[in-house]
Every structure is written in C-alpha cells, then in structure tokens.
Symmetry: C2
Subunit: 224 residues, 2 copies
DNA sequence: ACGGTGACTGACCGGATAGTCATTAATCCA
DNA sequence: TGGATTAATGACTATCCGGTCAGTCACCGT
C-alpha cells in the first residue's frame, strides 16, 4: 500500500531484500538488544532500533519475543558465563601455587569482562531496582557464584600458608571489585579519558597489588 | 535559603496545605530528583514522582526547571564534592607517614561515597552515553581530579621510600576501583545479598590489602 | 510455473508522560 | 481588611513508543 511498497530501491541501504531466516533471527535480535540496551538502558532503548540493527522491522521482533521485557531478559541471560564453571574445575584440580591459580582465574575473568559482559554488567547494575527478579537471579547465578570461587582460592592459599591470614569473605569482594568496576567504567565514563589507560597496564598493576598484598612474608608479618 | 537545609522540615507532610516557599523549592526538588533518578534512571523516572516526593505538584517543578534534562543536570551537579578539595589540601600540608595520609583520604572518600554520592555515581555511569556532555564534565571535575589526588599521594609515598615503586597512574585507578564499585554495588545488586557484608569489614579489608600491597619491604620510614 | 505456507512488514492504535497554561489562593503591604 | 502580586495547581495537549495485525512476498513442493 502507500508509497513504493514494491519499488526496487526503497532504502539507502543496498542491503539484502527481505529474506526468510527464522533460525538466525533470535540470536541476531539478542545481539542487537545487548548492544542497544547496554548503550541506552532499558527504558530509553527503542525496540525499533534493536530490530533495525538486527536488520529486520519492528514487527519481526515481536514475532520472536512477546514484549520488550522478554527481549531484555533474554539478552541478559544470553551472555551468562560458563567461564565460572571453568574456574570451579581449576580450583578443584589445581596442584601448583595458589598465587598462580589466582592469577589464572583473574585472567579468565578479565577476558570475560572485556567482552560484551562488561556492558551487560553496567546494564544490570543500572536496572537492578527496576527488575528485582532478574537482579536476584543474576546475583545468585553470577555474582555469588563468582564470590564463592574467589573464597575457595583464598582459603586454599591460606590453608597452605602461601597467603597471609585475611578476612576471606571480605577479601573476595575487595579483589573482585577492580575488575568489575573496570568493566563498567570502560563502557561509560572511561570513554572520556583523554589518553585511555591500557587494559594491559591496568590488569598488570592490579595483579601486582593483589599478589603483593596477599603473599605471606617468609617469617613473621609486620603489624600495621 | 537557610530554611530546612536538609531533612529537618516537614517531609511526609500529611496535612500541610499549599504553601508558598519559593526559596526552598529548588533544593527540595533536587533532593527528590537525586533519589528518583538514582533509583529508576533518567528515562524511567517520572517528573510527577519527583515533584510529589518534594511535596509539590508537577507544574511547580516546571516553575523552577525548564525541563527534565535541566533537573537531571542540576541534580548531578548538586552533589559534587568539595571533599576532594579537602584531600588536596591534606596532601600539600601533610607531614607524617604516607600510609596514614592515604588511609585518611580513603576514609574521606568512603564517607562521601556512602552518602547520596553512591547512587549518583551509579546514575552517571548508567547515563554517560545518553548525556555525553554531562559525562565529560563529571569525568573532568570529579573522576580525573580524584585520580590526580591519588597519584599525588602515591608519588609522595614512593619519593619518600615508604611505598615500593609502582606504576603510579595505573595504581591510582586500581586503588580507587573498589571504593567506586562498592558504592555502585550497594545501590543495586548489593541489595540482594542475603547477609550483607558490612561496610566496616569491607573497608577494613580494603585498607589492609592496599597498604600491605604498597608498603616497601624495608620500611626505613617511621616518621613523626 | 504456480499455488500454498508462513516469515516478514509497517501503518496504526492506545496508553503513558513531558511540558503548558488558565485558574486558584497564599502572602504582602497600604 | 482588601487589593495586588505571584507561587502553586492540575486539567489539558502533543508526542512518543510499545504492541498489533491485515497484508505482502520469499521460498518450497509439486
């Protein structure tokens, strides 16, 4: 109907004409959704923009997701980490020094966070109070699980006398914070740093501080 | 101006009739705005809710702020930190050990962040990409300035042989992260921790790690 | 090549809310 | 006390966007 429904060049995009790709749509929509939601936040994100970035029209998005919230939740759940499971196995099987184990796990986290997970963390943190159920789920499934892993590493190191005695529960939080914040930061205000501090320097210094702060002195530790 | 500078005045105000209080309105609206924006984010926050929490009707809000964005910006700028200036003077004048200076400054930050500043940080981080100019301003005026302060402390400690040599620029970031993240966290997912880790334990452990990680091996430094 | 299936489209609807303004009434002052 | 001033109100308008669906056309089987 209306104007030019069938004229050849409708869009400036020389893109593929309408195609039937049922299997690929959901994943493409979720990809686009992660991008847009992480950029704008839930309320400010427009479904039509998500759809367009995925190369389809708005109606198509509603073919695969019943509403905006469902798309949002699907996007959040998409990126969740199997990497944690990897770390969990490492902790069980590790034979060597705890410092090495810790570094390995932090390295894995750094990689995960550097991917889309960073923007997602920002999104969840920002929207937690608007989506309590989603927040609770993410907290249990990702945050708490990651903390448990970190506590296991710390406990192992202390038990073997490699790490000095610390408040394990609190230290697990403290150690995770820089990574988490860095991930969020680089998706928001970090963009306004004139010469951006490279990820490498940040992580290297971070490892350095953590290990220096944890390792046991040979004989007695000095009181503070 | 002086009237009811923060919360002493009638707030739930069950029966107060319409009152003319031109001087007090802007501050009350900004207070309410910080609350609502930090809770919902910019797009999901409703002006009418801000107005109601401030004890006025929607129209009144538009009497004092031309539009939603202006109210948002006013809210962000309201809470900005004179505490940083305090730290800057400390660094210039400090005579004693750098560790003590560092602890003092981190303590000040902890207090600022624990106040409304925490929710605000979450807000700014979440909305940075929707308000680039505001983000740039905040980055320069708060984040970068705080970093500069931290670098000054670290440099001082290194110059005096109290701290071991580190990558100052990167370390300033690393050290600030846990505080910043903790502030954001406690305003979002932290609410879903079943037994919340107390601020005291978190900060104590954080200081502990930082100082243990920074202090030089052979502290030839005990100063006045 | 052609007809049927269903993936895809986009105009449209309705609800929500940013922003306006004529009206109301609190306060001032002569 | 009454009239002038203006802070405050809330009904109203305009707009935006989530969600719908009648219609279109890409692909497949025959």
């Amino acid at each position: 109907m209306g104007v030019a429904s069938s004229t050849a060049a409708a869009e400036p995009a020389p893109a593929q004409a309408r195609r039937r790709r049922k299997a690929a749509r959901p994943a493409e929509l979720i990809d686009a959704a992660i991008e847009v939601f992480a950029e704008k936040g839930f309320a400010a994100a427009r479904i039509e923009e998500v759809a367009n970035r995925a190369g389809v029209s708005k109606g198509t998005a509603y073919l695969y997701f019943p509403n905006k919230e469902a798309l949002f939740k699907a996007a959040v759940q998409e990126v969740v980490v199997t990497r944690i499971a990897l770390g969990e196995r490492d902790v069980e099987e590790w034979q060597g020094a705890s410092a090495e184990l810790l570094r390995r796990i932090l390295d894995q986290w750094a990689q995960v966070i550097r991917s889309r997970q960073g923007g997602l963390l920002k999104l969840i943190v920002a929207e937690a109070r608007n989506f309590p159920d989603l927040a609770a789920w993410y907290h249990e499934e990702v945050a708490e699980r990651g903390q448990r892993l970190m506590r296991a590493v710390l406990s192992r190191g202390m038990a073997r006398g490699e790490f000095r005695p610390v408040d394990v529960e609190a230290m697990a939080h403290v150690i995770a914070c820089p990574m988490a914040f860095r991930a969020i930061w680089s998706h928001s205000l970090g963009r306004y740093e004139t010469p951006q501090l490279s990820e490498e320097r940040f992580y290297a210094t971070y490892f350095d501080l953590v290990l220096a702060g944890l390792l046991a002195e040979h004989p007695a530790t000095t009181e503070m």
